[in-house]
């Protein structure tokens, strides 16, 4: 993991089959420190329906090794772009039931703008660049979820340098 600009910056990336406790993971980012003024957590949850039909489960396939390194590269980029004090990304793989957590992005910063932006940036990239594929199980069988162009558009907007960044950097 690349070192951030800020001392005592905490970056964690975890891929796991097991469920996670989002509140506990987020609390870790502020534990024992008083410089955090903003903590944003996003949790992606497995919905119980897809295209109006109930689902039994989602199965996430991933590319071991590449998934970790892609997420770590984007975490490093987020740390470079925003003054973050902490970042945690957890992504599950395997079979996930409706109502269970799939993904967590938590960002901590002194002020909210950096924390909000970095969390959105990371989620947009996870959706389109991290090598994971969702397969949905319904009563009628299994099918791969198709990528949505709206997700590509969301990721694309981060290609332009963010406001306030020096052009000469």
């Amino acid at each position: 993991m690349a070192a951030g600009y800020i001392e005592n910056m905490k970056a964690t990336v975890r891929l796991q089959r097991e469920p996670f406790d989002a509140a506990m993971v987020a609390a870790d980012l502020t534990h024992g420190r008083s410089d955090v003024g903003a903590l944003v957590t996003f949790t992606g949850v497995c919905r119980g329906d897809e295209d109006g039909a109930p689902i039994v489960a989602l199965t996430l396939e991933h590319y071991p090794g590449m998934a970790e390194s892609e997420i770590e590269r984007h975490v490093a980029e987020a740390i470079e772009r925003w003054p973050l004090l902490g970042v945690t990304v957890i992504h599950r793989y395997g079979r996930i039931l409706p109502g269970e957590n799939i993904v967590l992005v938590a960002t901590a910063s002194s002020h909210r703008e950096a924390a909000f932006s970095a969390a959105e940036f990371l989620m947009d990239y996870l959706k389109t660049r991290a090598p994971f594929w969702k397969r949905v199980e319904k009563a009628g069988g299994k099918s791969w979820i198709e990528a949505r162009t709206i997700d590509d558009a969301a990721a694309e907007r981060w290609s332009a340098p963010p406001r306030g960044r020096e052009a000469a950097e």
């Binding site: 992606g44 996430l60 396939e61 991933h62 590319y63 090794g65 590449m66 998934a67 390194s69 892609e70 992504h91 799939i102 993904v103 989620m123 996870l126 959706k127 389109t128 660049r129 991290a130 090598p131 994971f132 594929w133 969702k134 397969r135 791969w144 979820i145 198709e146 990528a147 997700d151």
Partner: protein, 85 residues
């Protein structure tokens, strides 16, 4: 050149295996040429690569475009657009 190929999601299902190590002819220089060559290897490959434009590739676990050179690659992966998050 000998390369390890890895397939994911419906590309893996259509080909019927998650990975294989194969000898690639010397005149195959890019990812898109490799997809076209693979498609000619049999029905299951033709099915997997019939809409090659939507298939994404990675060389040594980094995303690459279809025009990327494959020279020196140790592992090349093919997969559909990603749907994580």
């Amino acid at each position: 050149m000998t390369v390890k190929l890895r397939y994911f999601a419906w590309v893996r299902e259509r080909i019927g295996k998650p990975e294989e190590t194969i000898e690639i002819p010397p005149d195959i220089a890019t990812v898109s040429q490799l997809m076209a060559w693979l498609a000619s290897r049999g029905e299951e490959y033709a099915y997997a690569f019939k809409d090659a434009k939507v298939i994404r590739a990675a060389i040594d676990q980094r995303h690459v475009r279809a025009d990327a050179a494959i020279e020196g690659a140790g592992e090349i992966a093919f997969f559909p657009p990603m749907t994580g998050g």
